[in-house]
Symmetry: C2
Subunit: 520 residues, 2 copies
């Protein structure tokens, strides 16, 4: 007879879960064995749990369906939690399978014993603990269903080792997906009515509303009524580039948001939260909607955003709005100093159609975003939850989700180091990822933030805590050490040539780009 | 006037906290600035929070006093939690300073918002949340006091950003250390009486009882009454080697524990928990004390173990027991295949007096421990909580605690990759650490465990999940990428030469040792 682990695996694949980003231990051996015996589940070994969770997030952003992770007790789960946080903020579906000690072994408080459900509760939308081997598969079906609630939830199933190895009679059928929550008619009517009131208006789009189909509808509505289209600061997946409806992305620094929102009389939220400051700063306002600007909500992030936009289009003042497609902008090859802007020029001129850009370039990324507005159509994925260390894992997961698409990971040197182990899985899986390390030898963002929070004149010791030189990080050596071919670029010309070769050559590679902030 | 952060720093150093392993973010900028302005606090920048927590653990194991960590909200803390778990199981003192959003900013649920106290509660013995800038310093004093309770606790202080930047009139004086809980007289009397009852007896030592002073006393007692001295499987810090009282370390695998304990009629616990299996296995017993063997407790892990042993010595049948010191064993230089045993021979013959060995070599470490019994006196630090990924951080912290001592980190390839970023801090701080990577290109322990849990005949796909080749990890390249000089050893002779050079040369280095399990 099959065991609980095998029945759980049958249940997961029946529910459409086909990839498992895994970092298992002894208590997951039957689960590993069950994966090894199941033709429809692909395991992707990760050398650190944060890689597994971030990759599952990247996979889900691109596929709109859950991957599984396989993690080892509370400590394994805690290593994944920063990227679980990012995944939660990205509203993706994700099924965590977390092994625990056999139920009867917990009382001994062996060294690795921890409260696994307490770990899971912190970042999961659904937590289940299997009650028996016979019931494990049904718990798995509930986990998959829970992960698919709304646009996505993190569902974490805790599997005591004995439930994996004891006999189980049958798998569980997939449970029906719950429909998306519809947008109340009154919300649509209120927005439709507001669009005709002559006020200065902007839409603020987030979540699912940033996909091409929704953007096209939003673009027609906005053009018809003269409204602007804003985009949340950290979108999970923004479809942009030539031919698509362009959006104005809200800046990261609150000071820069104020001029963007100045003069607005109404702001219509579509799958986005009201704009707030990422951090608080002494004496500055954290709530960024201008005084006197009315907030209306067309659709909340977990509602049927697409249907709401279609309904609004039908009710809007004009159905025959002109298209507002972004024009292609193919800049010339840059030369001279390797600034973020020069890097962005190479991207815009060399990226193939339909690339996926993962942006964890922090300070450098802020400059590169506007400069790639007219690049060939692409998806732009960002750090939704602000927990640094997701860029490389996201790129791994996106590449596995979309093997036919080129993935470009824009990584700051500091943030790259949190989950640098992702490079090895990129090589192992033959993913088509080009990693660009923006190497400025510092936590540059913190030098800026230090001044912004008014922390006074820094001492040399203070500044040493943002300094990543002494020793310099050599990402070419680090990448080669994990099986990824790598080159170094010290000026814009060298970068352009190396990036062109990367775009022309399948498989993972890394460019260690020594960036400077300006060309002076 | 000073701000809350500055007053907190004054308070920490007044309480004897002088090192801060830091990975800060925006919400900790005033704390960074306060460290930068305080002459008595040394910051050690870590590129990942798991490095910071593991290094603080290593520092505390060697200094018997707390280091601080500086971490960034819930996500930063979660990245440190696996090594917080190990530190908790090592019973060390540790003070975590975790920044949070300004109190009035939490309501906006900005992207990085999380429940920081909930994270902290999972692995901390004490959690405090600052209530105001004026009160922050006093909360810091309570954290230091709490960290020093018993042999040590993890104390986590959550610092909202505004409490760090708002004005605070004064620092807080250090609070008095609470005395160790004394061992009840009845416990000592019961054990003293049992020692004369003629039963086959062993002591099981753990925690503080494994330091040289306690071992010397235990050795005299045991010799006088013909008892054996056992040591818990994963000691935080075992002082051993030539001239010290030798102990029999309990094996990792439960099957191997049974013959060690067979025939015992009484087992006396001294700062150790009763032996249990690390994991449960189908159909096997997890409780390892043999049937009929009586368990007595001389002292619990958090009690005054040293005093209890002294009292017992005075009450024991004979006060004039012979010394049972380990003889020195200086093996010849090995040659041929690079087995764990050959590696251990090089260690035993080349390690200087008073080295610190950090053992996260997993399968390889199990073989090296007995083979270094007669090495020059040294401290052996292990993975107390079983959460893989602490070896390199522990070595970093131990080296900073004891700059005059050589540190040897025995690392498995798989476990090294969890917190490989520690290499950079080793280089930056000029630590005297020699890292030996036992590179067998696999999670070898899981191949063994797979068979032990009876998970059936593995498929190629199953085995791929333990395989670290394809691509091979090149630790020489990875180390050089982080500024650590490195060499590769493919046989015992090469390793011996490289290790001899490492012992003769100060500063961090790494040897990527291609190990085989036997010389056949």
């Amino acid at each position: 007879m099959s065991n609980g682990a095998e029945r759980l695996l049958e249940t997961l694949v029946a529910g459409g879960v086909e990839i498992c980003f895994a970092n298992p231990g002894t208590s997951e051996m039957q689960l590993v064995s069950a994966i090894g015996g199941n033709d429809r589940m692909r395991p992707v070994l990760c050398l650190f749990e944060g890689v597994a969770a971030g990759a599952a997030d990247g996979y889900a952003r691109m596929c709109d369906k859950p991957a599984a992770t396989l993690l080892h007790l509370g400590s394994g789960f805690s290593n994944s939690m920063a990227n679980q946080h990012n995944a939660k903020r990205a509203h993706v579906p994700l099924v965590n399978i977390v092994g625990d000690h056999a139920t009867y072994h917990l009382k001994y408080d062996a060294p690795l014993t921890s409260d696994v459900p307490a770990h899971a509760a912190i970042c999961s939308g659904w937590v289940g603990v299997s009650q028996s081997a016979a019931e494990l598969a049904a718990a798995g079906a509930r986990a998959v269903q829970a992960a698919r609630r709304g646009w996505g939830r993190i569902a974490t199933l805790v599997v005591p080792a004995n439930h994996a190895w004891e006999e189980a009679a049958s798998a569980a059928p997939a449970l029906p997906a719950e429909p998306l929550a519809p947008v109340p008619e009154a919300s649509v009517e209120a927005v439709a009515s507001a669009l005709g009131n002559g006020k200065t208006t902007a839409f603020l789009l987030g979540g699912r509303a940033l996909r091409e189909d929704c953007l096209a509808v939003a673009g027609r509505i906005a053009a018809a009524c003269g409204a602007r289209i804003l985009c949340e600061t950290f979108p999970a997946r923004l479809q942009r580039g030539a031919g698509r409806v362009a959006v104005e992305r809200l800046p990261y620094f609150a000071d820069q948001v104020a001029p963007v929102l100045a003069g607005l009389q109404q702001l219509i939220l579509v799958g986005a939260a009201p704009p707030v400051s990422f951090f608080a700063y002494p004496g500055k306002e954290g709530w960024l909607t201008p005084p006197g600007c009315e907030l209306l909500t067309l659709a909340e992030v977990d509602q049927d955003v697409a249907a709401a936009l279609e309904t609004l289009l039908a009710a809007a003042p004009s159905e025959r709005a002109p298209d507002t497609a972004q024009l292609q902008d193919k800049p010339a090859a840059p030369s001279g100093a390797l600034t973020p802007l020069a890097l962005a020029q190479s991207l815009a001129s060399l990226m193939p159609d339909n690339a996926i850009v993962v942006d964890e370039a922090v300070t450098c990324g802020l400059a590169m975003f506007p400069a790639t507005l007219g690049a060939p159509p692409h998806d732009w994925l960002t750090l939704t939850g602000g927990a640094i260390g997701e860029g490389l894992p996201l790129a791994l997961g996106a590449a596995i989700a979309c093997p036919e698409r080129k993935v470009v990971a824009l990584e700051a040197d500091g943030s790259a180091m949190y989950t640098i182990q992702a490079l090895w899985s990129m090589a192992r899986e033959g993913t088509d990822v080009t990693v660009v390390i923006m190497n400025n030898r510092s936590y540059a963002i913190l030098n800026i933030e230090l001044a912004r929070v008014g922390a006074g004149a820094p001492t040399a010791k203070t500044l040493s805590m943002f300094d990543l030189s002494g020793p310099d990080l050599d990402f070419v050596a680090i990448a080669r050490g994990m099986g990824v071919r790598a080159t170094r670029a010290g000026d814009a010309g060298a970068f352009h040539r190396q990036f062109a070769e990367a775009m022309a050559t399948p498989g993972p590679c890394l460019i260690d780009a020594t960036v400077v902030q300006s060309s002076d």
